[in-house]
Amino acid sequence: MLIDYLPVLIITGVASFMAAAALFVSFLLRPNNPYREKNTPWECGMDPVGDANTGHTRIPFFIIAILFIVFDVETLFLFPWAALLPDKGISVFIFIEMFIFIAVLALGLVYAWVKGALEWV
């Protein structure tokens, strides 16, 4: 049974080798010329203020990220749903079901909006 997973092991080895080889070859070929601006962390094009590890990260970033994931997952569910919709037997049922799902998610967005989480001050 375990032998069935041999291709997984092989592809893992090939992928690791490719990654290591790419890093190694570029290490041999690339020019090495670090200077101060190049070594600063890239922060959305803005000048970084202080160290990142002091924990002064803006909370709105997290909220936007969470909202993004929520609606990303919604899309993930919408595609198989759309593919199943022509099936006459369950179409009415899943049509209503998806609208309930979207309504619950929309309520979450309204909540974030009302509580002022979307304001970027």
């Binding site: 037997g89 369950i90 049922f93 619950v104 309520l107 909540y111 009302v114």
Partner: protein, 485 residues
Amino acid sequence: MPIETLNVNLLSILPMALVAILALSMLVLDFFLKKGDKGAIGYLSIIGLLIVLPIASNAIEGAPAFGGMVIADAFSAFFNCIFILAAVFALYLSVDYLKRINSETGEYYYIVLFAVAGMMVMSSANDLIALYVGIELMALSFYVLTAFRVRDTKSSEGGLKYFVLGALSSGILLYGISFTYGFSGTTNISDIARLAGGAGANNTFMLLGVVLTAAGFAFKIAAFPFHVWAPDAYEGAPTPVTALISIGSKAASFAVFLRVFIVAFPAFQSHWWKLLWALSAATMLYGSVVAIPQKNIIRMLAYSSIAHAGVILIGIVALNGAGAAGVMYYLLVYAFMNMGAFAIVMYLGRVRGNGEYVSDYAGMSSRHPVIAFLMALFLLSLAGIPPTGGFMAKFFILSAAIKARYYWLAAIGVVSTAISLFFYARVVFYMYMKDAEGDSPAPAGRPALAYDVVIYITAAMTMLLGLYPAPFMEIAIKAVEPLIR
């Protein structure tokens, strides 16, 4: 898939759907309420839950619905009643508690409702995926609630520890589920027994799945090597939430523990009984021994709840009808006696501004004679002294262990009960035998009615369950009968 095989039965998800709708409508209501009026959400949630209670207690017998995802049987109905009752008590106490710690928000109430919805999904899940979704809904709600006292670093610490270890345990549980799925080919709890039993019952990877699943559940019930989050989370959380975690979360986790191990994994019983035997024995002894030196009463109750988890595990090890029904009866009794003890801790915090430490209970019998008496009742019930409910619960579990010939485990259970009597009785000793040191703080007026109502109802139920257990035990036995084959 044709709709007939899906078996769409909206009645089977009605209780949890209603709780979810209640939570969402409370969320909308929160938009329109001013800062000081948030208590209204608490009271409306209680009324809503009390309306759902008769619907939830009504079991719909029949096949699993929604493609085998959920099953609304008497087993889940029994647990749903425990969750709703615990949440009603906790919410009722919360309204006054939140006013006292000065952080009245609407979020608190509907996150509690979301947690209840998650527990109900757990108790009626008939598929490991649905079970996992329920666990996550409950656990995520409790992480937030544990860290709810934002101005207290202990609360943040407890919340963070609970979150990190809870996420780890979810990972372990998922790993176990994936092994189970990989080697039985299904996540449906009733199909696993059929597909993985018989000749495959000695499969190493299937056993790995069983072991990892057990470890995941052991985290949630705070069994011995997986208990480290419990005391910190219990101490940091707002006290009503602590009560709800120790009752609701534990009951829900035992519900899934029972269903998975009795329905899905009985073929592996010859293997997993040793594991659960050791877990149970270690948890009982560790919980009751470590509770002895605790000075903080909430930490003491946390370790006592760890010890109780060990005793309840005996019922699963026994794997007979009496054991499983004993687990359900124990959790019902535990809901009332533990809620009562926490309500009194909160009552003292409200009336006298302390009550956090065991020494604060000195001389309570002369100052609050009725409350001191009821506290003694709850503590002796937790210790398992007749004629309280705690005694009957322990009696059912231990007799099931004897019936299944686990004599040593039953003996360890009795020893741990004897040890635990020591730290419960210490509080009683402080209340009745010691005088308060220094001048007692002046009573801060009459506390809210909620404390009296909760304390008296839980005390009455603790006594009733001790004196007249037959009808409740009968319901429990009827509920587990279809599960055990």
